[in-house]
């Protein structure tokens, strides 16, 4: 699905009905709000329409013009808020910021001039103005609930990196009954020493695939009880600064991020060897996708 705002005119039935949803993939309508105007970018609000909030996206359909409607996925809504100050905007509204696929600065200047030729995919702001401002708080709450249903999709792990243990290798490890994490094949190797063929990153990164084969392993059930996760679990050893960086960049860690972390670790002038006594100088992060 393309990021950002887009045209949306797929309605169900003949009467001005609800938008067509992707029900096969579990999309459900959560809220319908009649009498809502929409203001896109710096443009003036468009004629009242109806706002539909589904578990995947926000849709606005015009009440008068059946060919007019917009949709934006929750995945693209980076921020939403209630705006009430008349100095900032004439009517109380739900203010949203939209993440577009690209970074460009120039759009703001050109938008206002040629409003008809507005490229929806570059719109970064959208305001939804309900005719009844007392609905704002409940709309905000519904926005929050639905946004939480839409975490970042997980990117596929890139298999070719040899520092990721394959699921098979892990099965072997688990079969040995080792309840502790194996830090590396060679526990005495230190982070600062990467001479020879030894892959440095391999000592600090482990990818564990928790699939159903591990259902019986006790040490894993504990973890699963606490978070319900069934998929990839990544442990990364890194400096606190890097750890903050990952954490702040979002909880969904793709393998690309792990790659970056591995590169960062390469650059760290760590002379310490990787064993338990040195752990507190860095951070272990667990990520459940």
């Amino acid at each position: 699905m393309a990021p950002g705002l887009r045209q949306f005119t797929e309605r169900r039935g003949d009467v001005a009905g609800e938008p067509v949803l992707d029900t096969e993939n579990g999309e459900e309508l959560r809220h319908v709000q009649a009498g809502v105007s929409i203001a896109i970018g710096n443009r003036s609000p468009e004629s009242p329409g109806t706002l539909y909030i589904s578990t995947k996206k926000v849709v606005w359909l015009s009440d008068v013009d059946r060919t007019k409607g917009y949709a934006v996925d929750f995945l693209s809504i980076s921020l939403h808020a209630v705006s009430r100050d008349p100095e900032a905007y004439s009517s109380p509204c739900i203010y949203t910021q939209i993440e577009t696929g690209e970074d460009e600065e120039e759009s703001e200047g050109s938008d206002s001039e040629c409003s008809d030729a507005l490229d929806l995919s570059k719109v970064t702001e959208m305001r939804l103005v309900p005719s009844d401002p007392s609905q704002l708080d409940s709309l905000f709450r519904i926005f929050c609930e639905c946004a939480e249903l839409n975490p970042e999709p997980i990117e596929d792990a890139e298999e070719e990196h040899n520092w990721i243990f394959s699921a098979d290798q892990l099965t072997d490890e688990t079969a040995e009954g080792d309840s502790e994490w194996n830090f590396s094949q060679n526990p005495t190797s230190s982070i600062g020493h990467s001479n020879g063929d030894h892959d440095l990153a391999r000592t600090v990164l482990q990818l564990q695939i928790n699939d159903h084969r591990f259902e019986d392993a006790e040490e894993m059930e504990d973890e699963r009880d606490s978070d319900g996760g069934h998929q990839a679990k990544v442990r990364v050893y890194c400096s606190p600064a890097v750890a903050w960086w990952i954490a702040c960049s979002g909880a969904q860690v793709s393998m690309a991020v792990v790659n970056v972390v591995a590169n960062e670790i390469h650059k760290q002038p760590y002379g310490c060897s990787l064993n338990e006594s040195t752990l507190p100088s860095g951070l272990w992060l667990n990520y459940d996708d």
Partner: protein
């Protein structure tokens, strides 16, 4: 989940959330979820000249994936506690 729990402990404290689009919003941390989506209250935009339209916003929901940094109040960072938590986490919690 360490950071999730950590941020939960910061609820009620004043933080500054810096987004990847350079917008920085200061406010009271209202809640945080497992994706590090963040809800702020009593917000104000740090660079008001650049983002005048955000002036009116008093509470907002920020998608975790667009957050670049979260600036923490110094008194909200208990280094010993964090050390302890990371040790426990390192042992498989």
């Amino acid at each position: 989940m360490l950071f999730f729990s950590y941020f939960k402990d910061l609820v009620g404290k004043e933080v500054t959330v810096e987004l990847k689009n350079d917008l920085a919003i200061r406010g009271t941390l209202h809640s945080v979820d497992q994706y590090l989506n963040i809800k702020l209250e009593n917000t104000r935009v740090v660079d008001q000249d650049k983002y005048p339209h955000m002036l009116s916003v008093r509470n907002c929901f920020i998608r975790g994936s667009v957050v670049r940094y979260v600036q923490l109040p110094p008194e909200g960072v208990d280094v010993d506690l964090l050390h302890d938590a990371t040790r426990r986490e390192a042992r498989g919690g």
